[in-house]
């Protein structure tokens, strides 16, 4: 035990560290290419974005070393403290002057710090600690077993039963929405994956899939009209959806009547009816939310994604330029520093060094490069799942899933948005997008994971 304690790097997962370094270096080389300015060719020039990014990497590595010198127990013990600290930062940031309409930044003499990036670390630690402490595996197993069709829509009972969990997630969600920062809010919803893995709300994923389908259908047809077949009745799209839901419910009920034993039917009927009510309420919620809660630019982004509007040089400018940059990369790409669209001097793709950094990579490296990048991320995510599953410590496992979920969401939304599969939501691609806060927070997430994982054998004893 002692010998292992002394060797900080003894049980480091070199593969994870390796892929981290590969991503970081590719990311910096990509920023260098994307903002390359022949007048400032110096790699370490601090007036350039790549120079700053290297500086931030230095800071991140320094933080990583600090993390390595901490003990797992220390991290576990002070998880709530760190959570509390980041929540205070999130409150504090609300008293700053807005930049681009959002109060998301603390400015320190030209350097901007985004507390919401660090909040992800805080929430991950707090959630891991809470689940580790409070929820015995038996209880969760029971919940899992009950998670049949009968508790399909059990999200409300779930929240009421797990007020503390809801609070840990709800506070930062509310705070980032106040900034407002929809992107980080959506990233916080990634913890639902963790909850799923830990046995909460068994069918939450099925629930999400059905909810997404209903939401998309609602957004597509709710504001249109159609003629009821064989009649002259003019009906709204929403009525159509509700009619469809009634028909589907009826069909299910018929199926239940045909295939389920009589004594089991009653409960299923009840849950089916409950589901129907929830679905109808959800349809109304989506419609109301779309028309009354979303801001006009958010509505536009959704409409663009669903193909309801097509305006390549106006509202759809960003996404059109991004897709053109990626699509024009071809199989092998245009070559390093040879992007003609996603390049700082061409300025065709807006925010090409931050939110749309994937465009530069894809345009210059082509499909081969895109495939490599997606492959590296997939490897990273699966590696994290493997690491999580080999832990004996619940804390470390939950934490590992938190990290995996955060990376997964960032990857899915950032790349999905650039290739037109997700709405435009401004969140960074880890290690590729330019930005100090995200470089530090993602690095710290990884380093903490590396540290916790390296002590997995100690915990075992």
């Amino acid at each position: 035990m002692r010998s292992q304690e002394n060797k900080i790097f003894a049980n480091i997962d070199w593969a994870l560290l390796g892929i981290y370094l590969v991503l970081v270096l590719l990311g910096i080389s990509n920023i260098y290419s994307s903002v390359y300015n022949p007048e400032k060719p110096g790699l370490f020039d601090l007036s350039t974005e790549h120079g700053k990014q290297i500086m931030w990497l230095g800071v991140a590595l320094f933080l990583g070393i600090i993390v390595f010198f901490l003990e797992s127990n220390f991290i576990r013990k002070y998880a709530y403290w760190f959570y509390g600290f980041t929540m205070l930062l999130l409150i504090g940031v609300l008293f700053t002057t807005p930049i681009h309409g959002a109060k998301s930044w603390f400015g320190f003499g030209g350097v901007g710090i985004q507390p919401s990036e660090f909040a992800k670390v805080g929430v991950a630690l707090a959630l891991a600690r809470f689940i580790d402490q409070n929820s015995s595996s038996k209880e969760r197993t029971k919940m899992g077993k009950n998670a049949g069709i009968a508790s399909l829509w059990g999200i409300i009972p779930f929240i009421s039963k797990n007020k503390s969990t809801a609070l840990i997630l709800g506070i930062p969600c509310a705070l980032v929405l106040l900034q407002p920062d929809a992107g980080t809010f959506i990233v916080f919803t990634s913890f639902l994956l963790v909850l799923y893995r830990e046995g909460y709300a068994g069918n939450i994923l099925l629930f999400l899939v059905i909810a997404v389908i209903i939401a998309v259908v609602t957004l597509l047809v709710a504001d249109s009209n159609f003629m009821l077949p064989f009649t002259k009745m003019q009906l709204s799209g929403k009525t159509g959806i509700i009619i469809t839901l009634i028909v589907l419910t009826g069909a299910f009920a018929f199926a239940v009547r045909s295939f389920v034993m009589r004594r089991n039917r009653k409960g299923i009927y009840r849950s089916l009816f409950g589901s129907f009510i929830v679905a109808v309420l959800f349809v109304n919620f989506v419609e109301l939310g779309y028309t009354n809660i979303l801001q006009s630019h958010q509505k536009e982004r959704i409409d663009l994604l669903l193909g309801k509007i097509d305006d390549p040089d106006g509202k759809g400018y960003n996404i059109n330029r991004a897709k053109a940059a990626i699509g024009s990369g071809g199989f092998i790409g245009k070559g390093y520093k040879s992007a003609t669209l996603a390049n700082a001097s061409q300025r065709h793709v807006p925010m090409q060094s931050t939110d749309f950094i994937f465009c530069t990579w894809s345009e210059e490296r082509g499909f081969l490069g895109s495939f490599l990048l997606v492959g590296l991320y997939t490897f990273l995510l699966l590696k994290m799942v493997v690491i999580a599953e080999r832990q004996r410590s619940v804390f470390t496992r939950v934490y590992a899933y938190c990290v995996a979920s955060i990376f997964f969401y960032h990857f899915m939304i950032n790349v999905g948005m650039a290739i037109g599969l997700a709405p435009v939501i401004g969140i960074p691609l880890p290690f590729f997008s330019y930005g100090g806060s995200s470089m530090m927070s993602f690095s710290v997430l990884i380093f903490i994971l590396l540290k916790l994982d390296s002590e997995r054998k100690i915990v075992l004893q």
């Binding site: 595996s137 969760r140 197993t141 899992g144 077993k145 994956l193 799923y196 893995r197 830990e198 046995g199 994923l205 390549p312 059109n320 330029r321 897709k323 053109a324 940059a325 990626i326 699509g327 024009s328 990369g329 071809g330 199989f331 003609t340 669209l341 001097s345 061409q346 300025r347 065709h348 894809s362 082509g366 499909f367 895109s370 495939f371 997606v374 492959g375 991320y377 997939t378 995510l381 699966l382 799942v385 999580a388 599953e389 899933y401 995996a404 997964f408 990857f411 899915m412 790349v415 999905g416 290739i419 599969l421």
Partner: protein, 616 residues
């Protein structure tokens, strides 16, 4: 427990499925679908066309007769010009606010990032005042464009004009782009391909606001503009200018050819116009005005009009008669006025006399022998056989056939043959029906160009080169068709009596063209007087005859053959002959000795009032 642990597989599955979806999507976008590549090209690439200077045109003595001048269009890239002080700017450009707003709105509608034209063709002197101020108006810039300049305001019909390529031109030849200029008439049209050169193109990368940021693919796809070819014409610019001066206040034409080469020395059509009128911004308005002019200044009378040849045609009859053996040089015919009216003159004792006296009955009887050779007992069938022989002869003189002149025209004279009359007279015709063709009236038509060519044939004693304008193209040789002579069907030995007659027309008392006589040069000529019928509001009137003259000089080793045609001036010797002689003197001697003759012509206003020339 097992139940929950299985969820790791679900999560791993999600972590694989989403990236897999991305890979499929990326493969489709980057490799399969070309849509985004095209889109990227329209966004990030642009090209500028570089226009070559159009070829310069010189006359036979190396004088520049068409050159280029640089004009400036002002273009705008709308989104770079958002903060324009429009009040000051329109003052600088000298346009109205209304026009400016209209043009800007159009530019915005076309593209916010691509340039649109705001003002067109600012002359260099005006641009000199605009240029130093232009930098104050970002988004606006000048585009240089060369336009034609005609240093002397002459030969508009020969040189032709240019205007913007029509959708039809663009469809026919994809070289042209909207806004390009294309030669529309004359030499500009005939040698368009040589003169225009080859446009160059330069591809470049542009940024989001359309500013160039670098060259595309290291300029591998760029091409340099190729300067148009310079052309030397056979026109004698001094002679052309003199001819136009002589033809001031007259309607008609002059065509002068060098017999030994077929080179056209001058081609005048009166009235003419200043070729600079049909250049640049005011082309449309000026063209409209010229088009409305009742004297038809846009009509090129020297090549695009066919008239009855009148008496000059008699020379051809005499030549055919001798070649066919139906007469000899000494054949005499009585001046039988019962056949056709004539003036009083002694009996013509041979071809030379006949030509000199221009005796109508002489040539009617002569031509009857050609047409009615007695090869068939039926006079109708006989005339049909004979007329076709006759027509073949006439055509060998370049009348009514394609003279292959390098000038855009398809107007030709008319040589009536058997088919022609059968159709119109329903087979019931013999020579007596159509005898007026013998004296160049009736159905025979000739263009002034053909007439000058006829003079050249006689000067050459039996052959001609296709009349042409081109002398050399960028130093290279001209097409072969202009280098080999075309023989007529009449042998050279028969020409001397006709030439003798033509010499006497000018030099002997009783000749019809005494006004063409000069001491220094032996001119051979033949006058013509052409009856002129015109339909005015449904009624046919006979108007004052056209005056007509063809000549060549000197008699031996002729240097110039010429035709002069002046409308509504009566007898050919009165006006056309002196004009021809002045032209000949100018060309051969370069100066005019007989200033009285010259002044008489220069001061004459022969443009008729339509009411005065109707002969009752």
């Amino acid at each position: 427990m097992r139940n929950i642990d299985n969820r790791k597989y679900i999560i791993a599955l999600i972590f694989v499925l989403i990236p897999l979806t991305f890979v499929v999507r990326l493969f489709y976008m980057q490799v399969v679908d070309d849509k985004w590549k095209d889109r990227a090209a329209t966004i990030s690439e642009n090209k500028i066309l570089t226009y070559p200077a159009r070829g310069i045109v010189y006359d036979r003595n190396g004088e520049k007769i068409i050159s280029n001048e640089v004009y400036y269009d002002i273009h705008v890239i709308p989104r770079q010009a958002k903060n324009t002080d429009s009040v000051a700017f329109i003052k600088l450009l000298g346009i109205s606010m209304e026009e400016y707003s209209k043009k800007m709105a159009k530019a915005w509608a076309y593209s916010s990032k691509k340039p649109s034209e705001i003002v067109r063709q600012i002359p260099p002197n005006e641009f000199a005042q605009i240029a130093p101020e232009l930098y104050k108006y970002p988004g606006f810039f000048e585009v240089a464009r060369t336009l034609r300049v005609y240093p002397k305001k002459i030969a508009a019909h020969v040189l032709g004009y240019m205007n913007e390529a029509s959708p039809n031109d663009i469809e026919k030849d994809p070289y042209y782009k909207p806004g390009d200029y294309i030669g529309r008439t004359g030499i500009e049209r005939m040698y368009e391909k040589q003169l225009r050169g080859q446009r160059g193109v330069k591809y470049y990368l542009q940024d989001a606001i359309g500013m160039a940021t670098g060259e595309y693919e290291n300029g591998d796809y760029d091409t340099l503009a190729k300067q148009g070819k310079n052309i030397t014409l056979s026109i004698d610019w001094e002679l052309q200018e003199y001819g136009e001066r002589l033809m001031q206040n007259k309607l008609g034409s002059i065509v002068a050819i060098e017999p030994s080469s077929g080179e056209i020395l001058a081609m005048v059509s009166a009235p003419s116009y200043d070729p600079n009128l049909l250049v640049g911004r005011h082309l449309g308005a000026n063209y409209g005005k010229l088009q409305e002019d009742t004297l038809l200044p846009l009509q090129n009378r020297s090549i695009n009009s066919a008239y009855m040849p009148g008496s000059i045609f008699k020379t051809v009859m005499a030549l055919i008669g001798m070649q066919e053996g139906v007469i000899t040089a000494n054949s005499s015919f009585p001046c039988n006025k019962a056949l056709l009216g004539c003036h009083n003159h002694p009996t013509a004792q041979g071809v030379s006399d006949g030509v000199k006296m221009s005796c109508n009955p002489y040539f009617v009887q002569l031509t009857r022998r050609i047409v009615q050779q007695g090869k068939d007992p039926s006079i109708f069938k006989d005339a049909a056989i004979g007329l076709d022989i006759w027509a073949e002869y006439v055509r060998s003189f370049g009348i009514g056939v394609d003279l292959k002149t390098d000038f855009p025209t398809n107007v030709r004279g008319n040589v009536p043959d058997t088919d022609y009359y059968n159709e119109r007279l329903n087979f019931r015709w013999a020579f007596s029906t159509i005898q007026s063709i013998a004296i160049g009236q009736g159905e025979v038509l000739i263009t002034p160009m053909e007439m000058a060519n006829l003079a050249a044939i006689i000067a050459n004693r039996g052959y001609f080169y296709y009349p042409h304008f081109v002398k050399s193209i960028d130093g290279a040789d001209i097409p072969d068709i202009y280098l080999s002579p075309n023989q007529t069907m009449v042998d050279s030995q028969y020409f001397e009596p006709v030439i003798d007659g033509m010499w006497r027309v000018v030099h002997e008392s009783g000749g019809t063209a005494r006004r063409a006589r000069m001491d220094s040069i032996a001119v051979c000529g033949k006058t013509g007087t052409v009856e002129n019928f015109k339909k005015i509001s449904g009624k046919v009137y006979q108007l004052t005859d056209h005056s007509n003259f063809m000549a060549f000089a000197p008699r031996e080793n002729p240097q110039i053959a010429i035709s002069v045609f002046i409308e509504n001036t009566g007898f050919g010797g009165t006006w056309s002959a002196p004009v021809a002689s002045l032209m000949i003197e100018k060309y051969i001697n370069r100066t005019i000795k007989d200033t009285v003759k010259e002044n008489r012509i220069l001061n004459a206003n022969l443009i008729p009032d339509i009411n005065d020339i109707i002969r009752e």
